[in-house]
């Protein structure tokens, strides 16, 4: 292992029969880094993590964790794992689950007890520590899984969708804990569907799609890889012809309400099944960016598009020019703008663009 690397993956590959779940991926994670691993459902995120933690064996390639072969006992001893599916022993109490993990990692009993108390307090589970895990809510179980992963004071933490399906409080508690762990210098590899979570927490993210890595970079860099294209959502009080709006200075692309909704549906089906923003809003109208690499809408969306409407999404690299043009346009045509919402490119934009690009390539 090269100095300073916590995870080193070279050409890692996993097949399930005819399906190539992970296709020769290579990446590195530095020590102390919080590394986000993003991808649509079935992209290969969990398979990759399961290879790194030694639950399944790779078919090709190699990986190391903290300098030891992934899946080796030494690598496992230094790791903590929060799997996607809650898998504490439901017949044991939270406390007993923690003590079991401590014994399996051979953490000295006194240290384990002190650490268990601190973790349970920090994660808001101390009052219920003696209750059977079967009585815990989903959020409590996920928090317990995080405590179980941390009981051996691991150097590296693997988390597979740790906040998926959680209430806001539980998700916040877990995110706060992750921030603290990063400050303590722990290396964290996190898979998530939640783009905002990844953008907020991760130092770098990798986007995986169809088993291949689409990109690895910082969230900020990834957000602008398609250019600094801003999105302007707007609606007028009266219908407007789209081709007139498209001719305004600064518009690089335009979507009508119909196209926005169709694009939302298509993206939801193609790339982001299960994607949710914090608070469970899902893929909402006017929230999902649309910026395919070629700047064109998919053909099936453009077809049948109504030439006019009162809700649009414009893409521009010059917001000042376009906003001024829109104000002039409204004034000239006696239109009132009910909504004018400008937002910068986001990690979610990059995610959608990259996963769609790869899907089209296939």
């Amino acid at each position: 292992m090269r100095n300073g690397l916590a995870i080193e993956v070279k050409g890692l590959t996993k097949r399930y029969g005819e399906i190539l779940a992970v296709d020769h991926i290579s990446f590195e994670v530095k020590k102390g880094e919080l590394f986000g691993f993003l991808g649509p459902n079935g992209a290969g995120k969990t398979t990759t993590i399961r290879m790194l933690i030694g639950v399944i064996k790779e078919d090709d390639g190699e990986a190391s964790v903290m300098g030891y072969p992934a899946g080796s006992l030494r690598a496992k001893q230094l790791s903590g794992v929060v799997p996607e599916m809650a898998n504490a022993y439901i017949d044991l109490s939270g406390w007993d689950n923690l003590m079991l993990m401590a014994e399996l990692y051979r953490t000295p009993s006194t240290d384990a007890k002190e650490r268990a108390k601190a973790l349970l307090r920090e994660l808001g589970l101390y009052e219920k520590k003696d209750s059977k895990t079967s009585t815990y809510s989903m959020g409590m179980r996920k928090r317990l899984l995080l405590a179980m992963a941390l009981i051996n004071d691991p150097q590296i933490l693997f988390l597979d969708e740790p906040t998926s399906g959680l209430d806001v409080q539980s998700a916040r508690a877990i995110r706060a804990m992750l921030r603290n762990l990063r400050k303590e210098g722990k290396t964290i590899m996190l898979t998530t569907h939640n783009m905002d979570e990844a953008a907020e927490l991760a130092d770098r993210v990798a986007i995986i799609n169809h088993g291949k890595l689409a990109a690895v970079d910082t969230p900020d860099n990834l957000s602008i890889t398609g250019g600094r294209v801003y999105l302007i959502d707007l609606s007028f009080d009266k219908p407007v012809r789209s081709e007139v709006l498209a001719k305004l200075p600064g518009v690089s692309r335009l979507e009508t309400a119909q196209a926005i909704e169709a694009a939302d549906r298509l993206r939801a089906q193609m790339a982001m099944a299960g994607v949710s923003r914090p608070g469970g809003m899902g893929v909402g109208k006017g929230q999902v960016p649309a910026q395919p690499a070629d700047g064109q809408l998919p053909t099936d969306i453009s077809k049948g598009e109504k030439p006019e409407g009162n809700r649009f999404r414009l893409y521009t690299e010059d917001t000042t020019q376009l906003v001024n043009a829109l104000v002039d346009f409204s004034r000239t045509n006696s239109l009132a703008m009910n909504i004018l919402n400008v937002r910068p490119p986001s990690l979610e934009d990059a995610f959608v663009r990259l996963t769609e690009e790869k899907s089209r390539e296939k």
Binding site: V55, I56, R74, Q77, A86, L100, L104, Y105
Partner: protein, 251 residues
């Protein structure tokens, strides 16, 4: 933290897994009651009305209880854990797959041995004597380990539905009871019956128990012990090798 991951280290972790399994799967009222009551009633149904002495009945009865209890839960622990995804949890811990298997076998062995003390104590209370207590104790321990390993072999097929695995196990466990010289002494069986009896590990334990309690074994004790040790080793090796092969389809 002492972690050289050698045999002692993994044995300690296997014992942790065993303690966990005993707590979660074995120390349950219904499991204990069923483990005792089922062999008792099955045994009584075949012995009541027949002119049998206590020293003849006890070895067979003990063999049945040991066999049923040591193979009762071990076939379904792995499927249960796979279904609950706790097996995946164990596999992400610094333990070998073999350590998990040994841990499950330890749990089953401890349960079988503990329950078998009940008929032994009852036998002693009723005046039964054992000619070689050390050999007898060794035989009980060895047989419990052998049957616990056999129970784990039943869980090799990558089926994560405990009821299905239980049916597979039952299909083997029940015939074994009838071919192992429990109800009819081996020397009273026809030659073909004896040939079948020799393929059952329970036969050899029953023979040792008869030898120690009745003073009338069919085979020399050395052969009984050797075969029982061989069966134990075979079941353990098969369980470890085959679980390694089927595990990828299980998790």
């Amino acid at each position: 933290m002492k972690s050289d991951f050698g045999i002692i280290d993994q044995t300690i972790r296997a014992l942790t897994i065993a303690r966990k399994s005993i707590r979660i799967f074995y120390v349950k009222g219904p499991v204990i009651i069923f483990g005792l009551l089922f062999p008792i009633f099955l045994f009584l149904s075949f012995t009541i009305g027949r002119n049998m002495t206590l020293d003849f009945m006890l070895p067979g009865f003990l063999g049945m209880i040991l066999f049923f209890t040591a193979t009762s839960i071990s076939p379904v622990v792995v499927p249960w854990e796979a279904q609950a995804r706790t097996l995946e949890r164990l596999m992400s811990c610094p333990v070998r797959l073999e350590t998990i298997i040994i841990g499950d076998v330890f749990a089953s062995f401890a349960f079988g041995t503990a329950i078998s003390l009940v008929p032994i104590i009852i036998g002693f209370a009723l005046g039964i004597t054992v000619s070689s207590p050390v050999l007898f104790a060794f035989a009980v321990i060895l047989a419990a380990l052998c049957f616990a390993s056999l129970g784990n072999v039943f869980s090799i097929p990558p089926i994560n539905i405990p009821a299905t695995v239980n049916m597979i196990a039952a299909a083997v466990r029940f015939p074994v009871i009838f071919i192992s010289g429990i109800f009819i002494p081996l020397d009273q069986l026809p030659r073909w019956g004896q040939a079948i009896a020799y393929i059952s590990p329970l036969t050899y334990f029953t023979d040792i128990a008869r030898s120690c309690i009745q003073g009338r074994g069919h085979l020399p004790l050395a052969i009984d012990f050797t075969v029982l040790i061989a069966f134990t080793a075979l079941f353990l090796v098969v369980a470890m090798k085959m679980h390694r092969r089927t595990m990828p389809r299980r998790i």
